[in-house]
Symmetry: C3
Subunit: 336 residues, 3 copies
């Protein structure tokens, strides 16, 4: 694809070359995100960060990414606070707001809404998540994290072994991740989920068509053995058709340090799209893994900043100007 | 009036010379709003964008206008989130917040509240809408749009023919527009509304006193013929005293392409203060007009940015420094 | 303490030398807050202004302080808008958000939450108020105001006479102020409160141990006589065990111009942590004191900006670079 001036609406719009360019750009931005250098390359540019659904992490991540490139951010955080509540069409909202900014990030609970919004916009629109449909920057940061984690162990995405664990039926992040993994060769994937929350058949079919080796299992111990990457997701009890089915799986898809040590290869990387539910009765990633150096969940969110900076840089055409505009950081930072 | 350091509270404070200066300044700012140039003339200045009532469009417009001049924006978006809810007076809120910024924009549901707030402020205050009272930047952007649209057809506000359509009784925007139109010569105005929603007598009287030619009608087809500008506003059914009256007018004040083509002169400009209600049963401007090049509703909101940039420039005394501080836009834009 | 890179969590972490440094830095920042000069020393730096509880005044004050040093601000204003509501731990929220910024200010209704948050953060955290626990910048700005007001009358904190008035039992601001006053010599304090809302015994004991002269009284007229500073706080009726006790004190702890004139020495300074409840039936500082030049409540909030700028400057290590980066203000201001 041509990035300059483009919308980023779906993970489907990227081919392997596009993703390589995004990742190369993200790597170049690392010194800026880790506060070794600053740039003001987008000085004077304005991001409209339109969140018609709460998502603090994603909102702050996009906003900070734009600030780190030198631009300004205007925001909304609530559907009630907008003319949408007075019957205004997405077309009008988009057309009007696009007059006030240079790029728009939009999140909205309704699938398809961001693409509709983008049709009326005079400036590029990035999909920050539209219901259960798409959240392309999440898929990119997940894939980028897999790449960086594997590389730190002298491995590559090609020939990697990945376990997708938890709710594979409804999880938007998992579906998008499957799609981008299809762009790579010799991957094998374990699909680890309760029977009622299996990956949809059409996606399993797609994966197999691309020669990705698939193993489906309901047993987490089998699922997490002999892989390089564990991609955990939350299971919500209300997803099950009946409570006896739910209780059958209660805790069975949870990961903690003991299960990890007993079943995983050394240096198996642990990922999670976050937020992780840390309440006592949640079926989630246990906090006793926080000291495990292979827990990559925070490197994952850090990578989100890089990916979003890369997307802004590419669609606004400044990726190759950043190095020239770099200057030193003159205030305290211990991030680098 | 003297702009430097002044509050902008009411449309009544402007004479013809003031409006000419605002419009001239807005014209000079066009290359900046359309991203041909950037300026950082207000670098270091802070706007407190205080919205005690939701209004995304107006809030983002003021905030972006300030960012485009190089300043920073701090915001509130909710009355609940403020000390006003704990019994703090507007005087205290104003006096305290004015210590944190260089200029304040305030929107509040209560008529008169912004003027009261301005009394205690140490920095200039712009009224961003106080209930059914005043919203001076809306009236200015409406008038500016009328001027620009007419000029694009080699006409002028002087000698123009304007139809005001819809709820003329309660519409704050219409009342303010009437007041600024009185500053021009040889204007004729058609007042097109249901009987129950006619323009208040005192305003009709004022218009006539200024030699503005007035025609009142309930028939939209008569109303939209032989004019240069259609200024549409929303009719809310609850405004009628009884539902039979409401149903009598249901749809009668709506405009669509067919009605436009049959009744209007070529190039009759269509305006609306927005938001427009695009739900099926709304009495509004039909979406089939979106492709009509004379639909000026988005140029209207774009002009709002220029007017707000002009107001900030004038009251902060930088209007004549902007050209000297201009630099090129080095990122992608297709607005210009 | 060493400021560089430190968290600011509690007033207890400061000794007299630390406070002297903060106040000296605040004094140096006065020309910037009063708009005689601007600095961009923190250009490129990002503050995450995390307010998990509404507090417009404090939020805008921190945000503007950071903007005045040249930095950018990202914000949250609602607990509902965050992953905390989905069961995310403070640890995760902190660790993730700290990847997006260079310093965090956090306000949260729960005592101890900010210190817990700081443990996981990769960047310095400033406590913006955690329930009834701590709000260190408030205590610092109160003490700074006492110092500046006394100095304007050629007095010093040493040997000063201070009346603390109102709810001394639950008032977080009063407790913190007591702690910092213990760092000074020869102070005498009058504790003026209803019997049910007396300063906790442990604090009275601490004050006496430091040789601070204490007088406890329920009579406001006795309390406000022969002192240099009146520090008023709000009494909430629901704090009393029964309504007859509450009604006994109704209005007895209120201050107005008449009571002030009859009982106070000339130039007795009036302070209040704000917001002040200006509703008719509130037991508060009367608005007829607004014209009294000794009413210091707005100078107090102005000083808050200086203190917060000073804290940012010290923990980010730019305090001694500000003068070198100063430039002139080229837009209108009448603050200086």
């Amino acid at each position: 694809m041509e990035f300059l001036g483009s919308n980023i609406l779906s993970i489907d719009q990227f081919d392997r070359k596009d993703i390589d360019l995004i990742f190369k750009t993200a790597d170049q931005l690392f010194p800026f995100a880790s506060r070794q250098k600053i740039t003001r390359v987008l000085q004077g540019a304005i991001l409209s960060n339109m969140f018609f659904e709460p998502s603090t992490r994603t909102r702050i991540s996009f906003g900070s990414a734009f600030n780190m490139l030198g631009g300004e951010v205007r925001e909304t955080t609530e559907v009630e606070a907008t003319s949408l509540a007075k019957g205004e069409s997405l077309y009008d909202t988009s057309r009007v707001l696009s007059g006030y900014s240079d790029v728009i990030v939009m999140r909205h609970p309704l699938a398809g809404s961001v693409a509709e919004f983008a049709k009326a916009s005079r400036v590029p629109v990035i999909n920050g998540g539209d219901g259960d449909n798409e959240h392309p920057s999440q898929a990119l940061l997940d894939l980028f994290t897999i790449k960086k984690e594997l590389e730190s162990h002298k491995k590559n995405i090609e020939s990697s072994r990945i376990a997708l664990i938890g709710d594979l039926k409804f999880g938007r992040a998992v579906h998008s991740l499957c799609k981008v993994l299809m762009l790579y060769e010799n991957i094998s994937i374990k699909l680890v989920s309760p029977n009622e929350l299996k990956l949809p058949n059409f996606l399993v079919g797609e994966l197999k068509k691309r020669n990705i080796s698939i193993l489906e299992t309901q047993d987490i111990k089998e699922g997490i053995a002999d892989v390089d990457i564990l991609y955990m997701t939350r299971i919500q009890e209300e997803r099950f058709n009946n409570s006896s089915e739910a209780s059958k799986y209660k805790g069975l898809m949870s990961l903690n340090q003991e299960i990890y040590t007993k079943n995983c290869e050394p240096n198996t990387v642990i990922m999670h799209p976050l937020p992780r539910d840390s309440r006592k009765d949640a079926n989630e990633l246990d906090e006793d893994l926080n000291q495990n150096p292979n827990l990559a969940i925070y490197r994952q969110t850090d990578n989100g900043l890089l990916i979003r900076m890369a997307l802004f840089s590419l669609i606004l055409g400044v990726a190759d100007k950043i190095e020239d505009t770099a200057s030193s950081v003159d205030w305290f930072s211990n991030k680098s």
